[in-house]
């Protein structure tokens, strides 16, 4: 066991920190459009110096960063309070999925514009009736000459209104059941047959969208991993989803908790054992999350890919993140619920944590079945 970073990893971190120091993009501008443009510029700055896709192999514009370096990358971004690159879904999900399942032509065509943010990606998996039960999806792809016509509805599609490409899973065999007969496509978002409607959340803002597809066109060459193989390809994407962002999220959580701790200390609240114990409880949870995530990293390095233990850290993170803003309101009083307080947004946004990217109920199923080997019901 050695919980220090290697000289290389430390050098990586120091180089990154120094780079961020000189390239820090400052605070986000007001407004969703401006903010997204600012993140595109930020990604281009990262890409120009080889920082946009550190975990990708050098031949595709990455640095071939180790898992630890990737974790450090995400931690440092969060620590410096700079945003994720604009094309985070292409970088984390789309690119890695193509590297495993894509053809040479596809890699040639699609990878480079992901890194440069020339083409933004989004993910079209969930449907209104296929949320936790992804295999129930109904969007259908009908084979026509030279390609496919796709009709259906997708939901929870972040970045859809900025995206050029959508990772789309659709039912390519009519009346096929569950995981069978699905195909993974790359769909061009720039066509009239794709309508994007923002989906407003309880926070009041619209991070996500609905997609309405009416005979949307996808050429044959945009099938990834072969017709009918969509479930397997989608699993690769999902695996990367749970593994990728954990380190950044957890640093953001810790930053939030530190902020609460500072405010509480400044108000003299830590003199109360009750307050100190409750704050301490969250610090304990936060550290268990971080340590367990690093243990998972070692296991991933050993076994080649992230295991289902990632479900544990997603679950720990969402639970703890919800507790932080709840405790903030309890300690700081009703003023923390005013919209001019940073805690009120956090409180509302955190409610989504245990739903997005796998509900906690589904994560517990995964842990029970795949980690503990318990039987499935029926």
């Amino acid at each position: 066991m050695d919980l220090t970073f290697s000289p290389q990893a430390t050098a990586f971190r120091d180089e990154l920190r120094a780079w961020i120091d000189t390239h820090h993009p400052g605070a986000a501008p007001e407004g969703e459009e401006a903010s997204f443009a600012w993140r595109v510029a930020w990604q281009r700055a990262l890409a120009a110096d080889g920082w946009a896709a550190v975990h990708w192999p050098p031949e595709h514009g990455g640095r071939g960063a180790t898992l630890v370096e990737s974790a450090i990358f995400n931690e440092e971004l969060a620590r410096a309070r700079v945003p994720q690159p604009a094309n985070v879904l292409g970088l984390l999900l789309g690119g890695p999925t193509l590297m495993v399942h894509g053809s040479e032509e596809q890699k040639e065509r699609f990878l480079s514009p992901i890194v440069t943010a020339e083409e933004i990606w989004c993910q079209g998996f969930s449907e209104p009736d296929a949320g936790s039960d992804l295999a129930a999806l109904k969007t259908r792809a009908v084979k026509v000459d030279g390609g496919w016509r796709v009709t259906g509805q997708k939901v929870w599609t972040s970045y859809a209104h900025h995206a050029k490409w959508c990772m789309l899973v659709a039912r390519s065999e009519p009346d096929s059941a569950r995981h069978k007969g699905l195909t993974y496509f790359l769909m061009d978002m720039e066509q009239a047959e794709v309508v994007v409607r923002p989906l407003r959340q309880i926070t009041g803002s619209a991070e996500f969208n609905e997609l309405f597809l009416e005979e949307a066109w996808i050429p044959d060459e945009n099938v990834v991993g072969g017709v009918g193989n969509g479930w397997r390809v989608a699993l690769t994407t999902l695996m990367n989803e749970r593994a990728g962002l954990a380190f950044g999220l957890q640093v953001a959580l810790r930053a939030l908790l530190d902020e609460l701790t500072e405010v509480a200390a400044a108000r003299g609240l830590l003199a109360s054992e009750s307050v100190a114990e409750r704050l301490g409880d969250l610090h304990v949870r936060c550290e268990l999350l971080r340590l367990t995530a690093y243990r998972g990293l070692t296991a991933t390095m050993k076994y080649g890919q992230p295991g289902p233990e990632g479900s544990l850290t997603k679950w720990m993170w969402s639970d703890t993140n919800q507790r932080v803003s709840e405790l903030a309101v309890e300690l700081l009083g009703p003023g923390a619920l005013a919209t001019d307080s940073r805690w009120s947004f956090e409180l509302l946004r955190a409610r989504g944590n245990s739903i997005e990217g796998g509900t906690t109920e589904i994560l517990k199923n995964i842990v029970a079945e795949r980690v503990l080997g318990l039987p499935r019901l029926r």
Partner: protein, 351 residues
Amino acid sequence: MHFDFTDDQREIRRTARELLAARSGFERVRAVAERDDGAYDEALWRELVELGWAGIALPEAVGGQGLGVLELAILLEELGYAVTPSPIFSNAAAGLLIDAAGSDAQREALLPGIASGEQTATVALARDGVAELVPDGDSARWIVLVEEGRAIVCDALAGGLEIAPRATIDPTRRYARVAVGPGALSLELERDVAAGLDRAEVALAAELCGLAERALVLTVAYVKERRQFGTPVGAFQAVSHRAAEMLLETEGARSATWFAAWAADAEPASLARGASLAKAAASDAGRHVTAAAIQLHGGIGFTWEADVHWLYKRAQVDAALLVPAARHRARVARLAVAAAAAPAAAGAAVA
């Protein structure tokens, strides 16, 4: 021993449930919440006033209906159930406090306007003369601020107060920050504040119970319909057991709130304990049950379009108003110690 409502009380509940279903459905709540100024439905307010509900628990002598805190609690549970945008709660809570803590002269001066709804009041805890979040603080004529066991009534029309509307996560109610400036006109209520504050806490607890109840009802209906993995999701224990826990918390909070409301009317010696039980239980239930409702609605529950978030948001603010639950819990323990040290003549009541 009869731990249930009388026919008259049931009638209040039925009337309120029907009126609010018709006049304060979610589409109306949404309309208020989405207005920039968050202005309430004036016609609804007049209707509530005409029913005498602004002064339901105030004495007839000052123009109230002369009913009890229990009747008010029944009404507020319904207003919570409907998340109705209305100053009824803040006005009633302040009225209870003034009625309990005011001198006869103060009561005669202030309560008639409150009972008739013509000059509404509100109440909040203050620190150094500042109350961060006063419900309906920008529309009330009388603002009661409680600080260190003293309550002052400020006249919003007399100047000297800084009143700044303040948006919160709960757009179904208006709030303001209120600071008492040097030139403010205020009078201090002359009698003990504790019992009045406890009555206000019971009113708050009742609204929280209604919010929890509605969240449970919405959730049960949803999980019976929503299908995943080939079955209604309500059949999965992850869902059904959580729903059972929602019921447990909701019903526990209602038991305590009704007890406290009854004690306020019929057995004041039990009010302090009852109010603390009620606020502790109801603020937990309100927050937990509405959060669980969002979770059990899944992604839909996280959208602005679904209505379950109005309940969650109101419950968060309600739970944070007046005295925090943690202090009520500590108080219950200390009351138990005091009761053990000086066992009173055994009460005749169930609790």
